[in-house]
Structures are given as structure tokens and as C-alpha cells.
């Protein structure tokens, strides 16, 4: 693992590269305009919980597993930076905290922490052998490939409708892996917390909590960045390149009818949730965003013996606070500058 200074620089570089490619994602509300209302309280609580668990002798690997996935932690880091800036946390303490969060990410990943090799390798070769079973792979024709990718698209957008921009809470894409001696690249798309009824009652309609899509592609030349975004060679397409796949829902294999049924249930739930969201004002959206952040550390908070839900002080602050209109207008160049000087 790199030394702390290198870790911070490599993290900034990896995030900076993504920000350059990313379009503004303001749905359902620009996150930078509301984080000042709760993120300092969130990071304070998170820090306390981590300290408490460490003081109780819990190993770092066990603490990391309370976040479930490395994607969840990595997506929390930049909002935490904003929270710590808002709380005027000294820069050394801020850096120490980021390095600790990155070390938790390292506990949940086998491969390079910053995906500098273009791979997001969560599984070690041995874990891959147990988690991805070649004998379960079924050949994909165009019709099946389209159905698989429609499901992936629905799952991804369902994740965004449930937890907005913090969809690292729900999804983790990892790979590309290879079976020994073979050339096909295997991308694993994991979707967790699909029945997040704590956030939206509509999620109760989904029968499964965890869906894993295992897809073997030929000729895509795929990379996966630190935020789990897969990128493929220009001109290549997922649908025509899928050679074989299988889909597990809570550990059971889904057949093509099951895939179509799940797609339909997720689509209905997504439309119900987004219709509800479209009727919310900015304060209600800010409160929901806060709920999502608190939900992302539910297991950690409960392990520390606390109530995972948002404290009353957050609701009160959102009720009386104002939108921050300064940060949302930053262009990519200024975002890069902000990243350079932030920590």
C-alpha cells in the first residue's frame, strides 16, 4: 500500500479524472447545494462511531465489512471532505480521516486501491474461483443479451432513484476478471439493498435484496474506474460482445422469465419512487438525501450501539437552512482546483 501522502495524491488524481469526464448530475437536487446542512454532523457521527469501534478492539477488516462494499466507502469520501471542511476540521485531521477510509477500502479490495491498472478487482483469484462458477455460465444470443442489459440498465437507474447520487450504496461493479487461460473479460455487477424499505416503502415490492449479474465479454477492452464506472473501447458495444452470463438473485439463478419479471417490478417501483420525488420541494429532498447518507452507515452505527436514523438536529437545520448557491456552479476546471486544494 502507498504511504499516506501518495494515497491522498492518487485518490485526488483518480477522482479528478472522473470529474473531467462526468456531466453535471443534478438529479433530483444538486448535492453541493445542500451538504452544508447536514454533512458536518454526519462526519462527526461517523468519526465517533469509527473511534468507538476501534477503541473496542474491532479489527479494521471487520469495521470495513460493516460498509458491505468498497464502492460504498469510496463514494462517501468526497462528501465527507465537504463535511469536514464545513466543520473546519484541521487539514491534518481531515487527511488522516481520508487515509483511514481509504485503508478500509483496501480491506475490501484485492486489486489496486485506485484502479490504476484499469481494473476494479474486489475478488482475489481464490475468491473469484468460488464466487464465479464457469459451469453456471449460459451462452448469450442477441435476444438474451438485450434482456440482460435491460436488466442492468433498470437496476442501475433503480439504484439512483432509491439513493440519488450516493448509489455506491447499492451498486458495485468489479472486474474485469478472467477465467484462467481464457480471453473473455468478466464484469461482475452487484446490486445490494434492493429492498431498502427504510428509505422507500415502494422497495418492498422487489423480491430480492441482492442481484449479481456475471457477464463474460469478448473484445470490449474494458476498464473500471475508482467510482466503479466501466468504460469500453470506442466503437465497441456491450450487447453484441456478451458471450455468456448468469444472474443470481439472493443466491438463486434467475431464468429468462425471472429476468423479465424482475425488470418489470423494478421499473414499476422506480416510476413510483421518481414520481414521488418529483413532487418534493428542496427541503424534503435535502432531508431524504440526509436519510440516505445515514442509511449508508446503518450497520456501522448499529455495531457501535447507536440509532442509525438522522438526528433531530439535522431535520431542524434543514427546516431553517438555505440552499448554497455558490458551489453548484463550478465548472470542471474549478472543480479540479477545488480538489487540489481541498486536502
Amino acid at each position: 500500500m502507498d504511504n499516506p501522502k501518495e494515497m491522498l495524491e492518487n485518490f485526488k488524481k483518480a477522482v479528478g479524472e472522473i470529474w473531467l469526464r462526468d456531466g453535471q448530475n443534478t438529479w433530483p437536487i444538486e448535492i453541493n447545494s445542500i451538504v452544508h446542512l447536514f454533512m458536518d454532523i454526519f462526519i462527526d457521527e461517523l468519526t465517533q462511531d469509527l473511534r468507538q469501534l476501534k477503541a473496542a478492539g474491532m479489527e479494521r477488516a471487520k469495521i470495513a465489512r460493516l460498509f458491505n462494499t468498497s464502492a460504498r466507502i469510496i463514494r462517501l469520501i468526497m462528501p465527507c471532505v465537504l463535511g469536514m471542511k464545513a466543520a473546519a476540521v484541521p487539514v491534518d485531521e481531515l487527511r488522516e480521516h481520508i487515509v483511514y477510509l481509504l485503508s478500509l477500502v483496501g480491506e475490501l479490495k484485492f486489486g489496486d486501491l485506485f484502479n490504476r491498472d484499469g481494473k476494479n478487482l474486489v475478488f482475489s483469484p481464490d475468491e473469484f474461483k468460488h464466487a464465479v462458477q464457469k459451469e453456471k455460465m449460459v451462452p448469450a444470443d442477441m435476444k438474451r443479451s438485450l434482456a440482460v442489459h435491460k436488466l442492468c440498465a433498470v437496476l442501475w437507474n433503480y439504484a439512483e432513484s432509491v439513493c440519488f447520487k450516493t448509489h455506491g450504496l447499492i451498486r458495485e461493479f468489479h472486474g474485469p476478471y478472467r477465467f484462467p487461460g481464457e480471453t473473455e473479460e468478466i464484469l461482475v455487477r452487484d446490486f445490494y439493498c434492493l429492498r431498502a424499505v427504510e428509505l422507500w416503502e415502494e422497495c418492498g415490492a422487489v423480491a430480492y435484496s441482492h442481484v449479481r449479474v456475471i457477464a463474460a465479454y469478448e473484445g470490449l477492452d474494458m476498464t473500471v474506474d475508482i467510482y466503479n464506472n466501466p468504460t469500453i473501447r470506442e466503437g465497441a458495444g456491450y450487447i453484441g460482445s456478451l458471450k455468456s452470463y448468469y444472474i443470481e438473485a439472493d443466491g438463486e439463478i434467475l431464468d429468462p422469465d425471472g429476468v423479465n419479471r424482475l425488470c418489470s417490478v423494478l421499473s414499476d417501483a422506480m416510476i413510483a419512487i421518481t414520481t414521488k420525488i418529483e413532487a418534493l420541494d428542496w427541503r424534503q429532498l435535502a432531508e431524504k438525501y440526509a436519510e440516505i447518507f445515514w442509511f449508508s452507515k446503518k450497520e456501522l452505527r448499529e455495531a457501535a450501539g447507536g440509532d442509525w436514523r438522522i438526528p433531530e438536529s439535522v431535520r431542524e437545520r434543514i427546516k431553517t437552512g438555505e440552499l448554497n448557491t455558490r458551489l453548484p456552479n463550478l465548472d470542471p476546471r474549478n472543480l479540479q482546483r477545488m480538489l487540489r486544494i481541498a486536502f
Binding site: I18, R21, D22, G23, Q24, N25, T26, W27, P28, L146, H149, K150, C152, A153, V154, W156, N157, Y158, E160, S161, N229, T231, E234, G235, G237, Y238, I239, G240, S267, M270, I271, T274, T275, E278
Partner: protein
């Protein structure tokens, strides 16, 4: 699908997913609008919302006023292999519902 039925450039943007298609425009502004998108339509959006992905699944092409390579609705278009342009300024004003346009995502141009 007919090609080259229209030939005047009316807008331009950044190609996210290549390809060329001609079809009627369907402007989508909220979750309810996704139902009006059917096979062969070119979906035009001012912003991204997760529910819009359902419209993209029926559409033959996607035009976004904002967005970029990592905007979710654009990722969906790329995953499904349909032509998609992002950052097409004022697209929902320049194009009307049911007007026919040609989306050329190979060159980043919209003809109408």
C-alpha cells in the same frame, strides 16, 4: 427506418453512443412522459432522471440537453447500443414533439 428524410442541421452535441437514426421526436420532461416513447422514437430530454431509462429502452435514439459520458441516462443508451448525443443546447426548444429528425451520433449532429 427511412434515412436522410431531413437534411438541415439544427443542433449539435457530444457523441456518447455512435450510430445514425431518423425518427419522430418525443420530448420527455417528467416520469409520466416516458410512456409516450415507443419503438423508433427519438427521445429528447432536458435533464436526466432514473425513470427516463424506461423510455430509452423503447427509443431508437437519445438527445440530452446536458449530460456527458457518465450521465446515467447516457450510460443506458450506450449499454443498449442506441445513438446518443449529450450537451445539445436547447434541444427541447429546438425540436417539437412528433417532428422528424435525423440523429447522427457519429458526427454529433441533429438534422431536421
Amino acid at each position: 427506418m427511412k434515412e436522410d428524410t431531413v437534411s438541415t442541421q439544427i443542433a449539435a452535441g457530444i457523441s456518447v453512443s455512435p450510430g445514425r437514426v431518423t425518427g419522430p421526436v418525443k420530448i420527455v420532461k417528467n416520469s409520466g412522459d416516458v410512456k409516450k416513447v415507443s419503438d423508433g422514437d427519438i427521445m429528447v430530454v432536458s435533464h436526466s432522471s432514473p425513470a427516463f431509462a424506461i423510455g430509452v429502452m423503447n427509443a431508437a435514439g437519445l438527445i440530452c440537453e446536458g449530460g456527458g459520458m457518465l450521465t446515467h441516462i447516457c450510460i443506458v443508451a450506450k449499454e443498449l447500443g442506441i445513438p446518443c448525443l449529450a450537451r445539445v443546447e436547447k434541444a427541447t426548444e429546438l425540436m417539437g414533439d412528433n417532428t422528424t429528425v435525423t440523429l447522427d451520433a457519429d458526427t454529433g449532429t441533429v438534422y431536421g
